[in-house]
């Protein structure tokens, strides 16, 4: 006589999947695992790409919004057509007079070669101290040039040209300074 448990154990221990079938199942699991890993890599890459695209779009959107605010501020100041407080014919001369500026006032090297400086005053752009200059071109047309230091968040501002209330506004940067030129309509 033998015990039930011993015979049952012997019976089951003698059972098993055929070797070929067992290897097939193990191989299927390995292939499925490799497939899942590939899918995971693709999903992570797609997520990163999406994240990067969203970040780029967000940055571009923020820069565009900042550009809109600067343009609106420049146009508003230009429309006031305030007189110069300090008359000066050269940028160094005016820079010396506007001694509260925390940057060296310099003429833009790429534009306004045909404009003559009349003078300037203090102003601000996006709460940052700036110089508001009045210049006149060869045809006698006056324009307002704003100059401020290129610090955050203004340094993220892309060069732009736009029209606002009949005023043409061009924004660009040179040598660590942000320039904004407003021409057109006002001067009542």
């Amino acid at each position: 006589m033998s015990s039930v448990d011993r015979q049952v154990r012997a019976f089951y221990e003698d059972q098993g999947l055929p070797a070929a079938r067992a290897q097939e199942i193990l191989e299927r699991a390995r292939r499925a695992k490799a497939h899942r890993r590939r899918r995971l890599v693709v999903a992570v890459a797609a997520a990163l790409l999406l994240f990067a695209a969203a970040a780029v779009l967000r940055t571009a959107s923020q820069a565009r919004a900042l550009g809109d605010r600067v343009a609106a501020e420049v146009a508003m100041n230009h429309k006031k057509d305030l007189d110069v407080e300090i008359a000066a014919a050269t940028y160094p001369e005016l820079g010396t007079a506007l001694d509260k500026l925390n940057f060296a006032l310099a003429a833009p090297s790429t534009k306004l070669a045909d404009h003559r400086l009349l003078g300037g005053r203090y102003c601000s752009i996006q709460a940052q101290l700036a110089a508001q200059l009045k210049v006149r071109d060869g045809a006698g047309q006056t324009a307002t040039l704003y100059v401020t230091e290129l610090t955050p968040p203004l340094e993220g501002l892309p060069g732009t040209r736009r029209q606002l209330d009949g005023i043409s506004i061009e924004v660009w940067s040179e040598d660590g300074l942000l320039y904004a030129l407003a021409t057109g309509r006002p001067t009542v």
């Binding site: 015990s3 039930v4 015979q7 012997a10 019976f11 003698d14 059972q15 067992a22 199942i25």
Partner: protein
């Protein structure tokens, strides 16, 4: 434990659940793939048994009639029962005649060495119920084997090796 050994253990457990080698093969494969799909490699016997059991409940029991049998809980570990030596073919038939729960409980206890409490955790039954299932299974197998012996004139058959 090697993957192959673990897979074979899963198959034997599936066999104890289904009582049928073809269904057990299918169940073991599904359980193995499901386990690796959910957890990857490195999971042990307990996780595989749980996965196989859930698949079995989902796939097989729903399609079968629910067997309502009152089971009296036992409080003490039942003694193993003496049984005439029975060959594999007869033993397989006797095992197939057990209720699924009895076969499963006996397998986990006699083959895997699980305690009644551990079986209760896996199968969501009380320890007393598990002890009762094991006891009933032993009695049924011993009684069935004795009957076979009587029919065969008491000749004891050695299991094939």
């Amino acid at each position: 434990m090697e993957d192959l050994d673990l897979l074979q253990a899963g198959y034997r457990y599936a066999l104890s659940l289904t009582g049928n080698s073809a269904e057990a093969e299918d169940l073991a494969q599904q359980g193995w793939l499901r386990l690796h799909e959910r957890y990857g490699a490195g999971k042990g016997r307990g996780a595989l048994f749980t996965t196989v059991r859930r698949l079995f409940v989902d796939r097989y029991r729903r399609s079968r009639r629910v067997e309502l049998v009152a089971i009296e809980d036992l409080q003490h570990e039942p003694e193993d029962v003496a049984m005439p030596q029975t060959d594999w073919v007869d033993l397989e038939r006797l095992l197939a005649g057990l209720r699924e729960k009895e076969r499963e409980a006996l397998y986990l206890h006699a083959v895997e060495g699980y305690t009644a409490a551990e079986i209760g955790d896996l199968t969501e039954q009380s320890r007393g119920t598990v002890l009762s299932l094991i006891y009933r299974a032993r009695l049924k197998l011993a009684s069935g084997a004795s009957g076979l012996g009587a029919v065969a004139g008491g000749a004891s058959k050695e299991p094939p090796r």
